[in-house]
Amino acid sequence: MSQSLSVPTSRQRTAAGQAAMSDRWFSILLVVPAMVVILVFALLPLAYALDVSFRFADLTRGRIGDFVGLDNYRTVLHDKAFWDSAWVTVKFTLSAVFLEMVLGIAIAFLIHGATVGKGVIRSLMILPLATSAAVTGLFWRYLYDTQFGLINYFLGLIGLPEPNWLGDYTIALWSVILFDVWQWTPFVALIALAGLQALPKEPFEAAELDGASTFRILRTLTFPMLKPVLFLVLVLRTIDSVRLYDAVAVLTRGGPGTVTETMTFYLYRTGLKLFRMDYASTMAIFFLYAMLVASLFALRPLLTQFSSRASEG
Protein backbone atom coordinates (compact mmCIF):
# COMPACT_ATOMS: atom_id res chain seq x y z
CA MET A 1 0.00 0.00 0.00
CA SER A 2 3.01 2.26 0.10
CA GLN A 3 2.34 3.26 -3.49
CA SER A 4 -1.26 3.97 -2.73
CA LEU A 5 -3.10 6.22 -5.14
CA SER A 6 -3.98 8.46 -2.31
CA VAL A 7 -1.92 11.28 -1.03
CA PRO A 8 -2.79 12.57 2.39
CA THR A 9 -4.47 15.89 1.92
CA SER A 10 -5.03 17.08 5.41
CA ARG A 11 -1.48 18.36 5.50
CA GLN A 12 -1.88 21.26 3.15
CA ARG A 13 -5.10 22.57 4.59
CA THR A 14 -3.34 25.13 6.69
CA ALA A 15 -5.85 27.91 6.26
CA ALA A 16 -8.08 28.91 9.13
CA GLY A 17 -11.04 26.68 9.98
CA GLN A 18 -13.84 28.56 8.34
CA ALA A 19 -12.05 29.31 5.09
CA ALA A 20 -11.03 25.67 4.83
CA MET A 21 -14.62 24.57 5.28
CA SER A 22 -15.77 26.92 2.60
CA ASP A 23 -12.93 25.78 0.33
CA ARG A 24 -14.07 22.26 0.79
CA TRP A 25 -17.69 23.05 -0.03
CA PHE A 26 -16.70 25.16 -2.99
CA SER A 27 -14.58 22.37 -4.40
CA ILE A 28 -17.36 19.86 -3.95
CA LEU A 29 -19.90 22.16 -5.56
CA LEU A 30 -17.65 22.44 -8.59
CA VAL A 31 -17.69 18.70 -9.20
CA VAL A 32 -21.41 18.30 -8.64
CA PRO A 33 -22.68 19.00 -12.19
CA ALA A 34 -20.24 16.61 -13.82
CA MET A 35 -20.68 13.97 -11.16
CA VAL A 36 -24.47 14.04 -11.36
CA VAL A 37 -24.37 13.40 -15.09
CA ILE A 38 -21.76 10.68 -14.77
CA LEU A 39 -23.33 8.99 -11.78
CA VAL A 40 -26.77 8.80 -13.32
CA PHE A 41 -25.78 7.82 -16.81
CA ALA A 42 -22.83 5.60 -15.96
CA LEU A 43 -24.14 3.84 -12.91
CA LEU A 44 -27.66 3.15 -14.18
CA PRO A 45 -26.43 1.12 -17.15
CA LEU A 46 -23.94 -0.64 -14.90
CA ALA A 47 -26.70 -1.53 -12.47
CA TYR A 48 -28.84 -2.73 -15.34
CA ALA A 49 -26.00 -4.85 -16.68
CA LEU A 50 -25.28 -6.32 -13.25
CA ASP A 51 -28.93 -7.19 -12.79
CA VAL A 52 -29.25 -8.74 -16.23
CA SER A 53 -26.03 -10.71 -15.87
CA PHE A 54 -27.70 -12.81 -13.17
CA ARG A 55 -30.86 -13.47 -15.17
CA PHE A 56 -32.02 -15.08 -18.32
CA ALA A 57 -32.46 -12.34 -20.91
CA ASP A 58 -33.14 -13.12 -24.52
CA LEU A 59 -34.83 -9.90 -25.49
CA THR A 60 -36.67 -11.43 -28.41
CA ARG A 61 -38.19 -13.96 -26.03
CA GLY A 62 -40.08 -11.81 -23.59
CA ARG A 63 -38.69 -9.47 -20.98
CA ILE A 64 -35.80 -9.85 -18.62
CA GLY A 65 -36.36 -13.33 -17.20
CA ASP A 66 -35.65 -15.37 -14.12
CA PHE A 67 -32.69 -15.30 -11.81
CA VAL A 68 -30.15 -17.89 -12.94
CA GLY A 69 -27.34 -17.32 -10.47
CA LEU A 70 -23.88 -17.49 -11.92
CA ASP A 71 -24.87 -19.47 -15.00
CA ASN A 72 -24.24 -16.63 -17.44
CA TYR A 73 -20.75 -16.20 -16.02
CA ARG A 74 -20.12 -19.93 -16.42
CA THR A 75 -21.31 -19.82 -20.02
CA VAL A 76 -19.25 -16.80 -20.93
CA LEU A 77 -16.10 -18.01 -19.20
CA HIS A 78 -16.32 -21.30 -21.07
CA ASP A 79 -17.21 -19.71 -24.39
CA LYS A 80 -14.37 -20.27 -26.80
CA ALA A 81 -15.53 -17.51 -29.12
CA PHE A 82 -15.32 -15.08 -26.23
CA TRP A 83 -11.72 -15.96 -25.44
CA ASP A 84 -10.86 -15.90 -29.13
CA SER A 85 -12.24 -12.39 -29.38
CA ALA A 86 -10.32 -11.40 -26.25
CA TRP A 87 -7.14 -12.67 -27.87
CA VAL A 88 -7.90 -10.72 -31.05
CA THR A 89 -8.37 -7.61 -28.94
CA VAL A 90 -5.06 -8.14 -27.18
CA LYS A 91 -3.23 -8.71 -30.46
CA PHE A 92 -4.85 -5.68 -32.01
CA THR A 93 -4.23 -3.39 -29.08
CA LEU A 94 -0.59 -4.35 -28.59
CA SER A 95 0.28 -4.09 -32.28
CA ALA A 96 -1.71 -0.97 -33.08
CA VAL A 97 -0.67 0.99 -30.01
CA PHE A 98 2.97 -0.04 -30.39
CA LEU A 99 3.07 0.97 -34.04
CA GLU A 100 1.23 4.21 -33.41
CA MET A 101 3.56 5.20 -30.58
CA VAL A 102 6.77 4.33 -32.41
CA LEU A 103 5.77 5.83 -35.73
CA GLY A 104 4.13 8.82 -34.09
CA ILE A 105 7.24 9.67 -32.10
CA ALA A 106 9.48 9.11 -35.11
CA ILE A 107 7.32 11.40 -37.24
CA ALA A 108 7.31 13.99 -34.49
CA PHE A 109 11.13 14.06 -34.51
CA LEU A 110 11.10 14.21 -38.28
CA ILE A 111 8.84 17.24 -38.33
CA HIS A 112 10.48 18.85 -35.32
CA GLY A 113 13.68 19.16 -37.26
CA ALA A 114 12.01 20.69 -40.28
CA THR A 115 12.65 24.36 -40.81
CA VAL A 116 9.78 25.46 -43.06
CA GLY A 117 6.17 24.49 -43.62
CA LYS A 118 5.37 23.18 -40.16
CA GLY A 119 1.94 24.80 -40.17
CA VAL A 120 0.96 23.12 -43.42
CA ILE A 121 2.29 19.78 -42.26
CA ARG A 122 0.34 19.98 -39.02
CA SER A 123 -2.85 20.95 -40.81
CA LEU A 124 -2.61 17.96 -43.10
CA MET A 125 -1.78 15.65 -40.23
CA ILE A 126 -5.00 16.53 -38.48
CA LEU A 127 -7.11 15.32 -41.41
CA PRO A 128 -7.56 11.66 -40.39
CA LEU A 129 -8.58 12.74 -36.89
CA ALA A 130 -11.35 14.94 -38.16
CA THR A 131 -13.01 12.15 -40.10
CA SER A 132 -15.13 9.40 -38.69
CA ALA A 133 -13.93 5.81 -38.81
CA ALA A 134 -17.37 4.77 -40.03
CA VAL A 135 -16.90 6.89 -43.15
CA THR A 136 -13.20 6.71 -43.88
CA GLY A 137 -13.25 3.00 -43.08
CA LEU A 138 -15.62 2.58 -45.97
CA PHE A 139 -13.12 4.18 -48.30
CA TRP A 140 -10.34 2.06 -46.94
CA ARG A 141 -12.45 -0.95 -47.82
CA TYR A 142 -12.60 0.45 -51.30
CA LEU A 143 -8.82 1.01 -51.34
CA TYR A 144 -8.20 -2.51 -50.08
CA ASP A 145 -10.39 -4.12 -52.75
CA THR A 146 -8.41 -6.63 -54.78
CA GLN A 147 -9.97 -5.64 -58.08
CA PHE A 148 -10.98 -2.02 -57.77
CA GLY A 149 -8.64 -0.87 -55.02
CA LEU A 150 -5.83 1.60 -55.55
CA ILE A 151 -3.40 -0.13 -53.22
CA ASN A 152 -3.20 -3.33 -55.20
CA TYR A 153 -3.20 -1.35 -58.42
CA PHE A 154 -0.03 0.45 -57.36
CA LEU A 155 1.52 -2.75 -56.00
CA GLY A 156 0.79 -4.39 -59.33
CA LEU A 157 2.41 -1.51 -61.20
CA ILE A 158 5.71 -2.00 -59.41
CA GLY A 159 5.42 -5.75 -59.64
CA LEU A 160 4.86 -6.59 -55.99
CA PRO A 161 2.48 -9.33 -54.87
CA GLU A 162 -1.11 -8.15 -54.46
CA PRO A 163 -2.49 -9.46 -51.16
CA ASN A 164 -6.16 -9.95 -50.49
CA TRP A 165 -6.10 -7.40 -47.68
CA LEU A 166 -9.42 -8.07 -46.04
CA GLY A 167 -10.15 -11.51 -47.44
CA ASP A 168 -6.99 -13.38 -46.47
CA TYR A 169 -7.45 -14.61 -42.93
CA THR A 170 -3.74 -14.44 -42.20
CA ILE A 171 -3.50 -10.69 -42.83
CA ALA A 172 -7.01 -9.32 -42.33
CA LEU A 173 -6.25 -8.25 -38.77
CA TRP A 174 -3.13 -6.46 -39.96
CA SER A 175 -5.20 -4.58 -42.51
CA VAL A 176 -7.47 -3.37 -39.73
CA ILE A 177 -4.39 -2.43 -37.71
CA LEU A 178 -3.02 -0.52 -40.68
CA PHE A 179 -6.22 1.47 -40.89
CA ASP A 180 -6.10 2.25 -37.20
CA VAL A 181 -2.46 3.25 -37.51
CA TRP A 182 -3.40 5.57 -40.35
CA GLN A 183 -6.09 7.22 -38.32
CA TRP A 184 -4.32 7.57 -35.00
CA THR A 185 -0.59 7.90 -35.65
CA PRO A 186 -1.04 11.60 -36.50
CA PHE A 187 -2.69 12.06 -33.10
CA VAL A 188 0.37 10.62 -31.36
CA ALA A 189 2.70 12.54 -33.65
CA LEU A 190 0.97 15.87 -33.09
CA ILE A 191 1.07 15.53 -29.34
CA ALA A 192 4.66 14.31 -29.29
CA LEU A 193 5.58 17.18 -31.58
CA ALA A 194 3.94 19.72 -29.33
CA GLY A 195 5.77 18.12 -26.43
CA LEU A 196 9.09 18.40 -28.23
CA GLN A 197 8.50 22.04 -29.00
CA ALA A 198 7.66 22.82 -25.43
CA LEU A 199 10.92 21.35 -24.11
CA PRO A 200 13.23 23.89 -22.47
CA LYS A 201 16.30 24.78 -24.51
CA GLU A 202 18.93 25.14 -21.77
CA PRO A 203 19.61 21.55 -20.74
CA PHE A 204 20.09 20.54 -24.36
CA GLU A 205 22.50 23.35 -25.10
CA ALA A 206 24.46 22.42 -22.02
CA ALA A 207 24.55 18.78 -23.01
CA GLU A 208 25.74 19.65 -26.49
CA LEU A 209 28.50 21.78 -25.06
CA ASP A 210 29.53 18.79 -23.00
CA GLY A 211 29.82 16.88 -26.25
CA ALA A 212 27.15 14.31 -25.39
CA SER A 213 26.10 12.08 -28.27
CA THR A 214 22.68 12.49 -29.86
CA PHE A 215 21.65 9.11 -28.58
CA ARG A 216 22.68 9.98 -25.07
CA ILE A 217 20.77 13.25 -25.15
CA LEU A 218 17.72 11.36 -26.33
CA ARG A 219 18.01 8.76 -23.64
CA THR A 220 18.86 10.95 -20.71
CA LEU A 221 17.08 14.20 -21.55
CA THR A 222 14.45 14.09 -24.27
CA PHE A 223 12.58 10.94 -23.42
CA PRO A 224 12.47 11.43 -19.67
CA MET A 225 11.07 14.91 -20.22
CA LEU A 226 8.55 13.73 -22.78
CA LYS A 227 7.48 10.79 -20.67
CA PRO A 228 4.42 12.34 -19.02
CA VAL A 229 2.88 13.40 -22.34
CA LEU A 230 3.66 10.15 -24.03
CA PHE A 231 2.28 8.21 -21.13
CA LEU A 232 -1.04 9.99 -21.22
CA VAL A 233 -1.27 9.41 -24.98
CA LEU A 234 -0.43 5.77 -24.46
CA VAL A 235 -3.20 5.37 -21.91
CA LEU A 236 -5.79 7.11 -24.04
CA ARG A 237 -4.84 5.14 -27.14
CA THR A 238 -4.91 1.87 -25.24
CA ILE A 239 -8.36 2.48 -23.82
CA ASP A 240 -9.64 3.37 -27.28
CA SER A 241 -7.99 0.41 -28.99
CA VAL A 242 -9.41 -2.07 -26.55
CA ARG A 243 -12.84 -0.69 -27.31
CA LEU A 244 -12.30 -0.90 -31.07
CA TYR A 245 -15.59 -1.31 -32.83
CA ASP A 246 -16.21 1.10 -35.72
CA ALA A 247 -13.22 0.08 -37.82
CA VAL A 248 -14.00 -3.62 -37.54
CA ALA A 249 -17.69 -3.07 -38.23
CA VAL A 250 -17.07 -1.18 -41.41
CA LEU A 251 -13.96 -2.95 -42.71
CA THR A 252 -14.43 -6.64 -42.01
CA ARG A 253 -17.45 -7.24 -39.75
CA GLY A 254 -15.22 -9.55 -37.82
CA GLY A 255 -14.41 -11.60 -40.88
CA PRO A 256 -13.17 -13.61 -42.58
CA GLY A 257 -14.88 -15.95 -40.15
CA THR A 258 -14.03 -14.52 -36.76
CA VAL A 259 -10.42 -13.58 -37.43
CA THR A 260 -10.94 -9.89 -36.75
CA GLU A 261 -13.74 -10.21 -34.25
CA THR A 262 -12.73 -8.08 -31.29
CA MET A 263 -14.35 -8.31 -27.91
CA THR A 264 -16.56 -5.30 -28.50
CA PHE A 265 -17.66 -6.64 -31.85
CA TYR A 266 -18.50 -10.00 -30.33
CA LEU A 267 -20.38 -8.13 -27.66
CA TYR A 268 -22.29 -6.27 -30.36
CA ARG A 269 -23.11 -9.51 -32.12
CA THR A 270 -24.29 -11.14 -28.93
CA GLY A 271 -26.23 -8.17 -27.66
CA LEU A 272 -27.64 -6.54 -30.76
CA LYS A 273 -27.84 -9.39 -33.27
CA LEU A 274 -28.64 -12.36 -31.07
CA PHE A 275 -30.21 -10.14 -28.39
CA ARG A 276 -28.77 -12.25 -25.59
CA MET A 277 -28.45 -9.32 -23.22
CA ASP A 278 -27.61 -11.72 -20.41
CA TYR A 279 -24.41 -12.89 -22.08
CA ALA A 280 -23.65 -9.43 -23.42
CA SER A 281 -23.98 -7.86 -19.98
CA THR A 282 -21.83 -10.56 -18.44
CA MET A 283 -19.14 -9.98 -21.03
CA ALA A 284 -19.36 -6.25 -20.48
CA ILE A 285 -18.79 -6.71 -16.78
CA PHE A 286 -15.86 -9.00 -17.41
CA PHE A 287 -14.51 -6.41 -19.84
CA LEU A 288 -14.86 -3.67 -17.24
CA TYR A 289 -13.17 -5.86 -14.67
CA ALA A 290 -10.21 -6.60 -16.91
CA MET A 291 -9.83 -2.92 -17.72
CA LEU A 292 -10.00 -1.91 -14.07
CA VAL A 293 -7.35 -4.41 -13.05
CA ALA A 294 -5.10 -3.39 -15.92
CA SER A 295 -5.52 0.30 -15.22
CA LEU A 296 -4.86 -0.16 -11.53
CA PHE A 297 -1.32 -1.01 -12.51
CA ALA A 298 -0.97 1.14 -15.59
CA LEU A 299 -2.62 4.30 -14.33
CA ARG A 300 -1.00 4.47 -10.94
CA PRO A 301 1.91 6.66 -12.00
CA LEU A 302 -0.42 9.00 -13.85
CA LEU A 303 -2.75 9.31 -10.90
CA THR A 304 0.05 9.81 -8.45
CA GLN A 305 1.36 12.54 -10.70
CA PHE A 306 -2.01 14.27 -10.84
CA SER A 307 -2.63 13.87 -7.17
CA SER A 308 0.72 15.07 -6.05
CA ARG A 309 0.62 18.06 -8.34
CA ALA A 310 -2.81 18.93 -7.10
CA SER A 311 -1.54 18.78 -3.55
CA GLU A 312 1.49 20.90 -4.18
CA GLY A 313 1.56 24.57 -3.23
Binding site: L5, S6, D23, F26, S27, L30, V31, P33, A34, V37, I38, F41, Y48, G113, I121, S123, L124, M125, I126, A130, T131, S132, A134, V135, L138, F139, F148, L150, W182, T185, P186, L190, I191, L193, A194, G195, Q197, A198, M225, P228, V229, L236, I239, Y245, D246, L267, G271, L272, S281, A284, F287, L288, M291, L299, L303, T304, F306, S307, R309, A310
Partner: protein, 286 residues
Protein backbone atom coordinates in the same frame (compact mmCIF):
# COMPACT_ATOMS: atom_id res chain seq x y z
CA UNK B 1 31.61 22.67 -48.47
CA UNK B 2 31.37 19.01 -47.68
CA UNK B 3 29.54 19.90 -44.50
CA UNK B 4 26.94 21.87 -46.44
CA UNK B 5 26.41 19.08 -48.89
CA UNK B 6 25.76 16.52 -46.20
CA UNK B 7 23.37 18.80 -44.36
CA UNK B 8 21.59 19.50 -47.63
CA UNK B 9 21.29 15.77 -48.25
CA UNK B 10 19.94 15.34 -44.76
CA UNK B 11 17.34 18.03 -45.23
CA UNK B 12 16.35 16.53 -48.57
CA UNK B 13 15.98 13.14 -46.93
CA UNK B 14 13.96 14.67 -44.13
CA UNK B 15 11.53 16.39 -46.47
CA UNK B 16 11.39 13.32 -48.66
CA UNK B 17 10.27 11.27 -45.68
CA UNK B 18 7.82 13.95 -44.57
CA UNK B 19 6.26 14.01 -48.02
CA UNK B 20 6.01 10.23 -47.91
CA UNK B 21 4.30 10.29 -44.52
CA UNK B 22 1.94 13.07 -45.54
CA UNK B 23 1.17 11.22 -48.74
CA UNK B 24 0.16 8.18 -46.75
CA UNK B 25 -1.98 10.28 -44.45
CA UNK B 26 -3.68 12.41 -47.07
CA UNK B 27 -4.08 9.90 -49.84
CA UNK B 28 -7.19 8.01 -48.63
CA UNK B 29 -9.00 11.26 -47.98
CA UNK B 30 -7.87 12.70 -51.29
CA UNK B 31 -9.15 9.60 -53.03
CA UNK B 32 -12.46 10.01 -51.26
CA UNK B 33 -12.73 13.61 -52.43
CA UNK B 34 -11.75 12.62 -55.98
CA UNK B 35 -14.41 9.91 -55.93
CA UNK B 36 -17.01 12.46 -54.95
CA UNK B 37 -16.50 14.19 -58.31
CA UNK B 38 -16.66 11.00 -60.35
CA UNK B 39 -19.62 10.01 -62.49
CA UNK B 40 -20.99 6.61 -61.37
CA UNK B 41 -19.54 4.68 -64.30
CA UNK B 42 -15.99 5.70 -63.38
CA UNK B 43 -16.01 4.54 -59.75
CA UNK B 44 -16.00 0.75 -59.80
CA UNK B 45 -13.64 0.06 -62.65
CA UNK B 46 -10.40 -1.83 -62.79
CA UNK B 47 -7.79 -0.55 -63.27
CA UNK B 48 -8.78 2.55 -61.27
CA UNK B 49 -9.51 5.55 -63.44
CA UNK B 50 -7.64 8.76 -62.80
CA UNK B 51 -8.85 10.74 -65.78
CA UNK B 52 -12.54 11.47 -65.88
CA UNK B 53 -14.94 14.31 -66.48
CA UNK B 54 -15.65 15.77 -63.06
CA UNK B 55 -19.28 16.18 -62.14
CA UNK B 56 -21.23 17.80 -59.35
CA UNK B 57 -24.01 15.27 -59.77
CA UNK B 58 -23.07 13.45 -56.56
CA UNK B 59 -23.29 16.60 -54.51
CA UNK B 60 -26.61 17.48 -56.07
CA UNK B 61 -27.87 14.01 -55.23
CA UNK B 62 -26.61 14.17 -51.66
CA UNK B 63 -27.85 17.68 -50.95
CA UNK B 64 -31.11 17.85 -52.88
CA UNK B 65 -32.36 14.28 -53.16
CA UNK B 66 -31.14 13.02 -49.80
CA UNK B 67 -31.35 16.33 -48.01
CA UNK B 68 -27.98 15.74 -46.43
CA UNK B 69 -27.71 19.25 -45.04
CA UNK B 70 -30.49 18.31 -42.66
CA UNK B 71 -28.15 15.80 -41.02
CA UNK B 72 -25.39 18.37 -40.90
CA UNK B 73 -27.72 20.81 -39.16
CA UNK B 74 -28.75 18.17 -36.60
CA UNK B 75 -25.20 17.07 -35.96
CA UNK B 76 -24.00 20.61 -35.60
CA UNK B 77 -26.66 21.40 -33.02
CA UNK B 78 -26.15 18.18 -31.07
CA UNK B 79 -22.38 18.14 -31.00
CA UNK B 80 -21.94 21.84 -30.31
CA UNK B 81 -24.45 21.82 -27.47
CA UNK B 82 -22.90 18.71 -25.99
CA UNK B 83 -19.41 20.18 -26.32
CA UNK B 84 -20.45 23.37 -24.54
CA UNK B 85 -21.92 21.36 -21.68
CA UNK B 86 -18.85 19.16 -21.50
CA UNK B 87 -16.55 22.14 -21.41
CA UNK B 88 -18.49 23.96 -18.70
CA UNK B 89 -19.14 20.98 -16.43
CA UNK B 90 -15.73 19.51 -17.23
CA UNK B 91 -13.83 22.72 -16.50
CA UNK B 92 -15.55 23.21 -13.16
CA UNK B 93 -14.84 19.65 -12.11
CA UNK B 94 -11.32 19.61 -13.50
CA UNK B 95 -10.46 22.84 -11.69
CA UNK B 96 -11.70 21.35 -8.50
CA UNK B 97 -9.63 18.23 -9.04
CA UNK B 98 -6.57 20.20 -9.99
CA UNK B 99 -6.72 22.71 -7.12
CA UNK B 100 -8.51 21.01 -4.29
CA UNK B 101 -7.81 17.38 -5.12
CA UNK B 102 -11.40 16.43 -4.40
CA UNK B 103 -11.79 12.73 -3.81
CA UNK B 104 -8.04 12.20 -3.49
CA UNK B 105 -7.65 10.84 -7.01
CA UNK B 106 -10.24 8.15 -6.40
CA UNK B 107 -12.96 10.23 -7.98
CA UNK B 108 -10.74 10.98 -10.95
CA UNK B 109 -10.06 7.30 -11.37
CA UNK B 110 -13.74 6.53 -11.09
CA UNK B 111 -14.52 9.07 -13.78
CA UNK B 112 -12.00 7.55 -16.16
CA UNK B 113 -13.23 4.06 -15.39
CA UNK B 114 -16.68 4.90 -16.72
CA UNK B 115 -15.01 5.02 -20.12
CA UNK B 116 -14.03 1.38 -19.68
CA UNK B 117 -17.55 0.01 -19.79
CA UNK B 118 -18.29 -1.05 -23.37
CA UNK B 119 -20.67 1.29 -25.14
CA UNK B 120 -22.67 -1.58 -26.56
CA UNK B 121 -23.69 -2.75 -23.10
CA UNK B 122 -24.78 0.76 -22.27
CA UNK B 123 -26.95 1.30 -25.29
CA UNK B 124 -29.99 -0.72 -24.34
CA UNK B 125 -30.37 0.81 -20.87
CA UNK B 126 -30.05 4.22 -22.51
CA UNK B 127 -32.73 3.31 -24.99
CA UNK B 128 -35.07 2.34 -22.16
CA UNK B 129 -34.20 5.38 -20.04
CA UNK B 130 -34.81 7.82 -22.88
CA UNK B 131 -37.97 6.06 -23.91
CA UNK B 132 -39.40 6.57 -20.42
CA UNK B 133 -38.05 10.08 -19.94
CA UNK B 134 -39.46 11.04 -23.32
CA UNK B 135 -42.95 10.21 -22.13
CA UNK B 136 -42.78 12.61 -19.19
CA UNK B 137 -43.60 16.29 -19.40
CA UNK B 138 -40.05 17.34 -18.55
CA UNK B 139 -38.62 15.07 -21.19
CA UNK B 140 -40.96 16.45 -23.81
CA UNK B 141 -40.21 20.01 -22.80
CA UNK B 142 -36.44 19.54 -22.96
CA UNK B 143 -36.50 17.34 -26.00
CA UNK B 144 -34.97 14.39 -24.15
CA UNK B 145 -36.39 11.24 -25.60
CA UNK B 146 -35.93 8.81 -28.41
CA UNK B 147 -35.34 10.48 -31.73
CA UNK B 148 -34.87 13.83 -30.05
CA UNK B 149 -31.62 15.77 -29.89
CA UNK B 150 -31.58 15.83 -26.09
CA UNK B 151 -30.95 12.11 -25.86
CA UNK B 152 -27.85 12.32 -28.00
CA UNK B 153 -26.64 15.49 -26.30
CA UNK B 154 -26.77 13.74 -22.95
CA UNK B 155 -25.14 10.58 -24.27
CA UNK B 156 -22.29 12.47 -25.87
CA UNK B 157 -21.83 14.55 -22.75
CA UNK B 158 -21.49 11.41 -20.65
CA UNK B 159 -19.00 9.88 -23.08
CA UNK B 160 -16.80 12.88 -23.45
CA UNK B 161 -16.78 14.15 -19.89
CA UNK B 162 -14.21 11.66 -18.55
CA UNK B 163 -11.81 12.33 -21.37
CA UNK B 164 -12.36 16.08 -21.15
CA UNK B 165 -11.88 16.18 -17.40
CA UNK B 166 -8.63 14.27 -17.65
CA UNK B 167 -7.24 16.60 -20.24
CA UNK B 168 -8.42 19.70 -18.44
CA UNK B 169 -6.97 18.67 -15.09
CA UNK B 170 -3.49 18.69 -16.54
CA UNK B 171 -4.04 22.10 -18.11
CA UNK B 172 -5.32 23.64 -14.91
CA UNK B 173 -2.41 22.25 -12.97
CA UNK B 174 -0.09 24.26 -15.17
CA UNK B 175 -1.51 27.55 -14.08
CA UNK B 176 0.59 29.08 -11.35
CA UNK B 177 -1.28 29.32 -8.10
CA UNK B 178 0.32 32.64 -7.20
CA UNK B 179 -1.86 34.41 -9.74
CA UNK B 180 -4.96 33.04 -8.12
CA UNK B 181 -3.79 33.97 -4.68
CA UNK B 182 -3.11 37.56 -5.64
CA UNK B 183 -6.45 37.77 -7.44
CA UNK B 184 -8.17 36.54 -4.32
CA UNK B 185 -6.33 39.16 -2.27
CA UNK B 186 -7.61 41.75 -4.75
CA UNK B 187 -11.09 40.83 -3.54
CA UNK B 188 -12.32 38.57 -6.32
CA UNK B 189 -14.56 35.70 -5.32
CA UNK B 190 -13.55 32.14 -6.09
CA UNK B 191 -15.88 31.93 -9.07
CA UNK B 192 -14.59 35.21 -10.39
CA UNK B 193 -11.05 33.94 -10.11
CA UNK B 194 -12.04 30.89 -12.09
CA UNK B 195 -13.83 32.90 -14.76
CA UNK B 196 -11.49 35.87 -15.08
CA UNK B 197 -8.06 34.51 -14.25
CA UNK B 198 -7.91 30.76 -14.63
CA UNK B 199 -10.02 30.18 -17.70
CA UNK B 200 -8.31 32.73 -19.93
CA UNK B 201 -4.97 31.22 -18.98
CA UNK B 202 -6.21 27.72 -19.70
CA UNK B 203 -7.82 28.78 -22.99
CA UNK B 204 -5.50 26.74 -25.25
CA UNK B 205 -6.17 23.63 -23.20
CA UNK B 206 -9.88 24.26 -23.22
CA UNK B 207 -9.74 24.78 -26.97
CA UNK B 208 -8.00 21.46 -27.51
CA UNK B 209 -10.46 19.68 -25.29
CA UNK B 210 -13.30 21.32 -27.15
CA UNK B 211 -11.91 20.28 -30.50
CA UNK B 212 -11.57 16.66 -29.49
CA UNK B 213 -14.98 16.59 -27.84
CA UNK B 214 -16.57 18.06 -30.93
CA UNK B 215 -14.77 15.61 -33.22
CA UNK B 216 -15.79 12.62 -31.12
CA UNK B 217 -19.42 13.74 -30.97
CA UNK B 218 -19.51 14.55 -34.65
CA UNK B 219 -18.18 11.15 -35.64
CA UNK B 220 -20.14 8.97 -33.24
CA UNK B 221 -22.25 6.32 -34.92
CA UNK B 222 -23.66 3.63 -32.64
CA UNK B 223 -25.70 5.81 -30.30
CA UNK B 224 -26.86 8.07 -33.06
CA UNK B 225 -28.17 5.08 -34.88
CA UNK B 226 -29.93 3.37 -31.97
CA UNK B 227 -31.33 6.44 -30.24
CA UNK B 228 -32.63 8.29 -33.28
CA UNK B 229 -34.92 7.41 -36.13
CA UNK B 230 -35.39 10.37 -38.37
CA UNK B 231 -35.88 13.69 -36.67
CA UNK B 232 -32.57 13.80 -34.82
CA UNK B 233 -30.38 11.63 -37.06
CA UNK B 234 -26.78 12.69 -37.46
CA UNK B 235 -24.36 12.59 -40.38
CA UNK B 236 -22.85 9.20 -39.68
CA UNK B 237 -26.34 7.73 -39.77
CA UNK B 238 -27.18 9.82 -42.81
CA UNK B 239 -24.28 8.35 -44.75
CA UNK B 240 -25.85 4.93 -44.25
CA UNK B 241 -28.84 6.00 -46.31
CA UNK B 242 -26.58 5.71 -49.36
CA UNK B 243 -26.11 1.99 -48.81
CA UNK B 244 -28.86 0.77 -51.05
CA UNK B 245 -30.09 -2.63 -52.02
CA UNK B 246 -28.53 -2.04 -55.42
CA UNK B 247 -25.18 -1.52 -53.78
CA UNK B 248 -23.33 1.35 -52.14
CA UNK B 249 -23.69 4.57 -54.09
CA UNK B 250 -20.00 5.39 -53.90
CA UNK B 251 -20.16 8.78 -55.58
CA UNK B 252 -22.89 10.22 -53.35
CA UNK B 253 -21.35 8.57 -50.27
CA UNK B 254 -18.07 10.27 -51.07
CA UNK B 255 -19.86 13.57 -51.59
CA UNK B 256 -21.77 13.22 -48.33
CA UNK B 257 -18.63 12.18 -46.49
CA UNK B 258 -16.75 15.15 -47.88
CA UNK B 259 -19.53 17.51 -46.86
CA UNK B 260 -19.67 16.02 -43.40
CA UNK B 261 -15.91 16.27 -42.91
CA UNK B 262 -15.68 19.87 -44.10
CA UNK B 263 -17.12 21.61 -41.03
CA UNK B 264 -14.72 19.64 -38.84
CA UNK B 265 -11.76 20.57 -40.99
CA UNK B 266 -12.63 24.24 -41.04
CA UNK B 267 -13.08 24.20 -37.31
CA UNK B 268 -9.88 22.32 -36.61
CA UNK B 269 -7.85 24.58 -38.87
CA UNK B 270 -9.34 27.64 -37.20
CA UNK B 271 -8.36 26.26 -33.80
CA UNK B 272 -4.87 25.27 -34.95
CA UNK B 273 -3.18 28.15 -33.23
CA UNK B 274 -4.59 27.12 -29.87
CA UNK B 275 -4.19 23.47 -30.47
CA UNK B 276 -0.48 23.66 -30.97
CA UNK B 277 -0.07 25.29 -27.61
CA UNK B 278 -2.69 23.14 -25.99
CA UNK B 279 -1.64 19.79 -27.39
CA UNK B 280 1.18 19.40 -24.93
CA UNK B 281 -1.54 18.53 -22.44
CA UNK B 282 0.31 20.79 -20.12
CA UNK B 283 2.25 17.79 -18.95
CA UNK B 284 5.56 19.21 -20.11
CA UNK B 285 6.43 22.28 -18.20
CA UNK B 286 9.00 24.46 -19.87
Amino acid sequence: MLQRDSSFAREALRYGLIVLVLGFIVFPIAWMIITSFKPPEDVMVSPPRFLFTPTLENYVHAIYDKNFLFYIKNTLFISVTSTVIVIIAGSLAAYSFARYNVGDGHLLFFILSTKMFPAIAVILPYFLIFRDVGKTGVGRFLGIGLDQPGALIISYTVFNLPFAIWLLVSFFQDIPRELEHSARLDGLSRLQVLAKVVCPLAAPGIAVTGVFTLIFSWNEFLFAYILTRKVASTVTVGVESFFTLQGILWGPVAAAATISVLPMLVFVLAMQRYMVRGLTFGAVRG
